[in-house]
Symmetry: D2
Subunit: 389 residues, 4 copies
């Protein structure tokens, strides 16, 4: 049977794509080598810099985020290179797995998946690496599997404090753009990785590398083989507004629209909106008597909230009930929190009324799935929103 | 500043148009005289009959609902004809004004705008009309200005009880389709008037007349001049799947899709859904300590709920606050309830989560606009939905 | 079997709707009574004046062109009024039939359907009408059934020469906008009738009345009953950017886009483009050895070319072959030229390459359908286009 | 100034995307890990096999074609491996450059860029490679820079005749699907590379690897590092209709639609259509007195025709004139034929009338740009189409 009404896609990405962007990507494809294309190319290339808050080159790949992970590594490293990675959750773990497949040598800092990266542990590891065998420090800005952020500026300070030359690479796939503030230049990031389908409000299919001068220097000596991901060809062609191989033209139409929309609202307004929605969501979770996966106040994600269900309860069964009764998708618990956690996406093009619908639907699902909880969570969120409107 | 997220169009029509229908109306226009057109024509002509629950002809006009009001009258009546009309609210009043402009002679049964048409008063008026000067009884099925429905089957019984030959004309512009059950044949309606932008989930621009055999007989002797609205030419051309003049082709694409969607969900499911949402909305209104405009339990509209604000409060100021802070449109109070009433549309392609968002947004607005009320309305609706899920 | 490639909709309207406009009409519907609507309302209302070249009010109806015909008559005339109409073709004939249905008294000037209205005959008829019983002169600007235009400025001069007070009403449904120059104020037209699906490049569903002050004065005393078409309510509501009843909102989105597109190209460029394409089409027709229906050089339509097939040939069989083999729709011969004429639309958003495809497809069809003709028509058009590029 | 009418995108890819597909990719994005996604996943995964004519796995990458080139090599080869490549044109050259960047050792067979790969030369090279140091033979099926095809079945025979174990890798980026027949299983191809934006009628952003069992065996021992491109993870996840990392969901919507469209027309009809259009295009070129770049009759591309301009003429200046006067994009001459060749794309969703428009526009451009030529080419193509309709 047809499910009536609009589907609520409240996974932590892809976020629901606004109509304006859907219409933009449905424009007729154009000649990406024609004289008119450079207008679009220049527009998205400079526009995406404003979102990363950088004056450095930003590479736009026709690929999803996993490709941009790979690109960051293969452009800067050589076989066997050591990289320091912090396993803040499932996606940090996957990036490490990818590094292994590429023949790199990840050194891992583990966490309990309930917090961001600890700058002190990074500093300690770098101090111990007296021969500078660690070539890069890899941190996930917003860990989509746990709803914890890492404090990138503090990680940079830790690297500097250790006086270590390693590159700082940051996955901000789900952090960038509409959701969390990200400051590539100010924070001293060397390579930032992002994707289209989260804060940028696009369908998946584009991903990004922002690249510092230090990263470009590393690129000159890196020996991992690559062609598709190679920064140099991209940067060269991008100077004239073009791409060295066929770009995903129609997604670029959408990207141009998305960047406009973010600036129309104002990035600071966008960040404040997500932070407020995140707090309102936690108010609901607490009223239900449930726990938030993230345990560090400063590190709550503005993008998503991962919620722990009581022992003996199956979070995936809850999600199924919510999908079937409320026409709403939530994110599942991944890997070692599978079944123990569900994730509420409150990212992208979102507002108070959508959040209240979302939380109301979850509360209905908690009831229908017989998850032990107290009612009133949706109302608690509403009260929070009232008090901060 | 750009308002983030999806706009909640919670006026009692136009209802938010689902993506499937928006995509359908954006298909390239076709030759409405070409051999392929009849497939579309026949599909919408027979499909719309299934929505009116009739085997009689249904005329599809390229016009909005006001046009179908005019069509009902000019096809069946002559200058100076008396029509019995029940002023159940603003739209019933407008239909009467339209009858006056056409040179008809409306006899009015007034109400307090808080209930549907009273069959007993209709019966009485007809019994007093011993020379059958009343040619038609005009009733609004779902009065969009008040949220009260009239019980059409009981009106038909009243006419029959009076043994009066008047035609029964029913405006079901906001009643038909996804919102309220309507049974043209079973209820013995002679002319039904409807439009595209309510339960049918389309943009405005199409309107309808369903026509009984008795109405067709009246048409043969009616003398009000008309060409555009003339049933006969339409019915003749419709037999082959075509129209006598240019139809609104792209809206017909959407109509075909809308009819499919209604049958995919099942009309009975559609009606039950709207009735449940209407009850949940009233639960919220009562929890807020506010009054519903409609005072008769059997006559609550499944389509919309008109809510009275406390004396000394301006409903339009409230609506402005909600529009600006919550990106949501509500319906205004019309004519004599202007400023005293706001109207919540819960019609069309709608679901629990959207309703909870809607009510949460209204509660936030009541708070922000300093309307005297109690909190917890949204939660009351949620509790009702839980208990009936 | 699926027909590959883009369908060529070369009927003389609806014209193929450009992607920009299709995307515009697929935007989410909005509250036509909300505060934001007036921006759209004012934009289309003033924009459409620039297309009619008038500072007088232009009424926008949610209706197709037949409705605007009716509106012109019912707003200005009374039962039994005499109107002078020139039967330049099938659509002029239909307008006359509509006048009859409305109870008017058309006096007809007949033509051979191969030319526009003759100003001299109009002047003569008016001179003979010494008691001014003729209340309006009705002329079709661009007769879509024949491809002949009438010279409206000369008709106005004829009326003035006769010193007759009749209103000048002009159907420019297929003339307005992208196709032919139309100058409401300069030419002294009193009521102009138009529609959305021709030069305005929209799907059908909107139609227009431009209204002179003299027509407004006639409106004050006209007694034909009407409500939907009534100008006064429209003009009053339009002053604030709104409509007295529900407009066809999504088509208005498209109208705003269409007006922008016309001005981006420049109206004079638009008119020159259509005139050139019309001449190129005639070059092809002549090279084929076929006749153009219009016989008066000054009156060739820039919008369409009606082509006569040789005696013994069925134009409709030819059209069927072209539809099936070339995925192209052409207009049929209507009424007394049925089967004898086919019509090539070269209106709306059209360019040289599309015209060459169209003419090439027709030449292929002439061959496949065994219509006696000479080859080389498409080449003749190309040579003409080359020489005028 | 706005250019009127539809843009003719007659480059040899991206091809113009049909409306049906544009609408499909504008559908709301869905949860690619949700229970409903597998329907889409399975549909496109099995559908794309039917287009490659294989029962082997076909990998779908969120990447453009260059990525699928890289994927073919990194999944099967190790650093320093020798690959035999035939430089049939610019794209074959680029694939070789990519192999170099990946640390492979290409052995090159050169051509004059006016023919496909010569099976005899391949056989000879393989016979000379007595120690089987050549691990793969790489051939471009349809060389987009020259309009020459290589005869893949004959290449396979040559490899077999030499008794050599090298893998056969074929780039059919512009060959697959709507344009040229491709038979993965029957022809004994080991890895086929393709993309979305040519015969598949989609925007760029998806690319493909079809993979034989022998290629899978090579994959087990290949040591080039890769993660994003890795077949094994893909094949494993694809079994259940899912992908190991985020797919380009909205392009998959379009792919499903494209596959349906190809089967609605019938692949054999699709191939015949392109072959016929290619012949018609050559008829035009010859009538103009110009040369086709491809000199081998059996190897004319059904997808595009590269046309040589007379010495002393600049093909790019011609293309500029055509873009500005005819609103049509043609492909440029690449690398060593830059300025000497222009390329006409007649691929994807295309029909007779579109071809006639295209050729007419080119003939107009030849005239306007003062390229020495004879008129009548467009007419010659028309005559060819007539004779084969």
């Amino acid at each position: 049977m047809r499910q009536p009404g609009r589907h609520f896609l409240q996974i932590p990405g892809p976020s629901a794509v606004p109509d304006r962007i859907l219409r933009a990507i449905a424009m007729p494809v154009v000649d990406h080598r024609g004289p008119g294309f450079a207008d679009l190319g220049n527009r998205v290339l400079s526009g995406i810099q404003s979102i990363f808050k950088t004056e450095q080159p930003v590479i736009i790949y026709p690929a999803s985020g996993t490709g941009a992970w790979e690109a960051a590594l293969v452009n800067t490293l050589s076989t066997g290179d050591k990289v320091l990675m912090v396993e803040t959750g499932h996606f940090a773990f996957l990036w490490q797995q990818l590094a292994l497949k590429l023949g790199l040598n990840p050194q891992l800092i583990r966490t309990d998946w309930r917090r961001g990266a600890d700058p002190a542990l990074i500093e300690q590891a770098l101090r111990e690496d007296s021969d500078y065998s660690i070539k890069a420090v890899c941190v996930v800005h917003n860990e989509t599997s746990t709803g914890c952020t890492s404090q990138i500026a503090r990680v940079r300070k830790a690297i500097n404090a250790a006086g270590h030359p390693a590159l700082l690479m940051v996955d901000t796939i789900s952090g960038l753009g509409s959701s969390a503030d990200f400051r590539f230049d100010e924070w001293g990031v060397d390579v930032a990785v992002s994707g289209s389908q989260k804060g940028l409000m696009l369908p998946p299919g584009l991903s990004f590398n922002a690249v510092s001068e230090k990263a470009l220097a590393a690129n000159a000596t890196a020996s991992l083989p690559t062609a598709y991901w190679q920064w140099r060809d991209m940067i060269e062609a991008n100077k004239r507004g073009y791409f060295p191989y066929t770009p995903a033209t129609n997604l670029l139409f959408g990207l141009a629209e998305a960047i406009d929309m973010l600036h129309e609202e104002g990035l600071d307004n966008v960040f404040a909106r997500h932070k407020r929605h995140s707090a309102a969501t936690r108010a609901a979770v607490r009223a239900w008597g449930l726990d938030v996966q993230c345990t560090v106040e400063d590190e709550y994600s503005p993008v998503l909230t991962a919620v722990r269900v009581p022992d003996g309860t199956d979070a995936d069964a809850l999600r199924t009930v919510i999908l079937e009764h409320c026409n709403m998708s939530l994110g599942n618990g991944l890997s070692k929190v599978q079944g123990k956690v569900f994730r509420i996406g409150h990212l992208g093009d979102f507002n108070d009324v959508m959040l209240l619908g979302t939380l109301g639907g979850i509360e209905m699902g908690l009831h229908l799935a017989d998850v032990p909880h107290q009612g009133g969570g949706s109302q608690a969120a509403l009260d929070y929103l009232k008090s901060t409107s």
